[in-house]
Symmetry: C2
Subunit: 548 residues, 2 copies
Amino acid sequence: MAGAGAPHHPSPSDSSARRSWWGWGTEDKALPDAECAALGRLVPGAADTPLPVPAVSALELPKVRVEPPAALAPLMSAEPRDRASHTYGKAYRDVIRALRGDFAAAPDLVARPGTEREVADVLDWAAGAGVAVVPYGAGSSVVGGVEYRAGSHRAVVSLDLSRLDRVLEIDRVSRAARIQAGALGPGLEDQLRPHGLTLRHFPQSFEFSTLGGWLATRAGGHYATLYTHIDDLVESLRVVTPVGVSESLRLPGSGAGPSPDRLFLGSEGTLGVITEAWMRLQERPRHKASATVLFADVHAAMEAVRAISQAGLHPANCRLLDPGEAALAGVARDGASALVLGVESARFPVEGRLDELLTLVRDHGGSPVPSEPGAPDAAADTWRSAFLRMPYLRDALARMSVLTETFETACTWDRAPGLYESVRERLGDAVRKVTGSPATVNCRFTHVYPDGPAPYFTVVAPGRRGQEIAMWDEIKSAAMEILYDHGATVTHHHAVGRDHRPGYDRQRPEPFAQALRAVKHTLDPAGILNPGVLVDPTALVDPAAGKA
Amino acid sequence: MAGAGAPHHPSPSDSSARRSWWGWGTEDKALPDAECAALGRLVPGAADTPLPVPAVSALELPKVRVEPPAALAPLMSAEPRDRASHTYGKAYRDVIRALRGDFAAAPDLVARPGTEREVADVLDWAAGAGVAVVPYGAGSSVVGGVEYRAGSHRAVVSLDLSRLDRVLEIDRVSRAARIQAGALGPGLEDQLRPHGLTLRHFPQSFEFSTLGGWLATRAGGHYATLYTHIDDLVESLRVVTPVGVSESLRLPGSGAGPSPDRLFLGSEGTLGVITEAWMRLQERPRHKASATVLFADVHAAMEAVRAISQAGLHPANCRLLDPGEAALAGVARDGASALVLGVESARFPVEGRLDELLTLVRDHGGSPVPSEPGAPDAAADTWRSAFLRMPYLRDALARMSVLTETFETACTWDRAPGLYESVRERLGDAVRKVTGSPATVNCRFTHVYPDGPAPYFTVVAPGRRGQEIAMWDEIKSAAMEILYDHGATVTHHHAVGRDHRPGYDRQRPEPFAQALRAVKHTLDPAGILNPGVLVDPTALVDPAAGKA
């Protein structure tokens, strides 16, 4: 057990590139106006000029309604930039509202505790004062997870955990580390790298999301099989609840009652604030091989992916891009689908396993794209850089009043082809009805399991300036209806937040909903934690506890 | 989606071999008196003659305290053999008490519902009448999971699910099946076999335990890595709770809030009765390879197993037997430890993967035992047949008043060597203190994870007739103390039941305990379901609901 006490590398939040308060990532990577306009010209019907980005100083923020006690005041900020940047996540509708200067929902204060004790102190004060607390990792939610909407609390504090960003302990023997919840992806990997270890959890939001956020929302990494959800990487959790600290035993496996960790995983800040976790690590891979495979028919491609997922080969990457998605990413043309395959190992050469994968895909009509021996796979690299740049392009298109958003799900294999066709048809119709224009609806499979894939859809269509949100909400509502009809989940790895509540409430079993309400009431009796997420807040406000 | 409506193969419970009412398995496999005595002679200090097996007709059972309503009467039995066989599980202490004719805890009635509706009807009646309901799969619990001890209910019904034993639906595309909870291992595999599929979950109790029991107790199969706990094989659950039926969506993966299934997995019949589940299946393996590896030093063997578990090779079998265990199983002598390795695949040859495993074990000082090419691995077969025969031998030794029991756990690798030595030393001392004789304390690793093993200990020592239970309880209590001191779980796959409650209460986080009590109170407001398991019954009895 080695302490990891040395000062760690600066995480991106410390660096000179300032985080955007209205859009994705850092300000320096946002597209300039001219590039936004050029991008907009690719979407017939888009606006001619980009929505302007207002100055923070020009924003009208609601009056701060609460004053923190003296002991907590040093942790609290009421600075306009802090309040504005903590009002929303990074969904399409968040970006549009931020650009419009709609900050009615801004938190009164942003708290930045530096210790777990300070987290508990903030909760104690808030519970007594009837103040809502919205836990905030790095704000990459695309489902309204960090946006206060309940309206019934005296005030709102955004609880920003970014100062709790350290790897506290490393157990090299068991390959695990105790990590604080506020650590961003790059920061925690920087601290693990000197030990030759990696958490190997790489969501698309990796640079701008935290361990605590991943745990609270059951995030998915970009690996396609085996260890996809963060859930499986958890050895134990430490959670500050309003009624006390919950800490589970560090265990590789256990059968002692229902898993305590699984109750907090996915609880989205409603039951407590995750402050640290023992996470399972891996050695950094030394052997890698990858290939891109083209399919003339998307359904044949799906069958190939199903065969791979059921063959026990566990590729690290197994990402299917449908024709539209493959064309956009520049990895295939002429209506071909592309399958990006990757295998890796820290110990043994992996060429044999890649050969087994290619045998399977050839049996299903796939054509591997020849690549230079030893050269990196060009299509995979093209896809990967497009993947990381995507959210910045999304923001640029949003500024051109283009509707551009994604939604993701999972379903069993027997339902996948029907779901795919249904989304393309029915959602295409819905978009045409809403926008009057033909829709781009693309799909990729981000994760695949032996019993089903996780399809991820992208929608692009021209919106009307000033009506973007109403238009998108109508399209999203149609999308949720299609998922429901096909028995697909409301979310595979984007979480429920506030935007998915209607679908979530239909999907979860009613006795479980009752159980969750009881847990909420027990652990958060004053109903202050992320109100409106997972559980209805009105049923919970305890008049004796809230002073509102 | 293919219906599996054809009549299924008879399950062992239908067959002529009658289940034992006092011990493991079927009556025909119990050792005759002479063999018991011969076995006893191997343990110095054992009794000279076996405890007699009483006739069922001679048992003194308590008076039946309740009469079922007419509509439910046809499902209910008050036959002495039914009541006796449903009083206990199959722990050592259960066998001893059954042989002694101690049936004060016998259920008043045994209910055998044939439909889910009848399960719900039994719960409705019981909740109204203040009658405790103990869900019963096939009664293989070794932790007091099916034994009523609360003492505060008007009467007790054992809810035997054995009639709900069908595979109802098979989805070959997604490789999943909807299976009723009362299906025994062989019965459900018989129904899957014609489809070329298998659940591939083989606990030691396979013949005499049910899907519902596996789910309720988070059972572990005999595969050593990757898919070990039944938890990971679950696509969705259907659970009858006293407040309604909970059914989760069939999904390969989801991030929509905390997992509903994970709340019921491990709930041990306290929150509801699992009636069916969609389970993930696999194709039957066509390629297999195995090897046995000897190590002169047990700690070197542990290091080799750690290296394997962390190399991403996922062997199907990776079972380490310490010197005592290896000698007993007849696979090694002279203080050597034995590692039994197996790899398998439905699609591809596995020799390459076995070679990779053997490279790793040689690097750690292991010596593979040469075997004829193509011949089955003799040591593995020896071990496997001993494994299945073990519980019958345990019963025979119990009849000779030998203390003979197991306990199992899991811990991280950094703690494993210390735990192993501590159990051998401190538990050895405890056994000597209790029995006055030297102890046999052996260990095997039944499951291994990248971050730690699941050690399984066997204790054998001569007891004193009439004092076996008090003696074993003292030893078990010492064992639990050692596990606690080493941060090891109270159970990896045997569940909590009533016997592990003290350790479980120390181990689980307090806020989670509060949450679980709230869930219990919400889903089982009358406090009738398996009272005393996981949650304290006295805190739950609702005077308005119970008529006791």
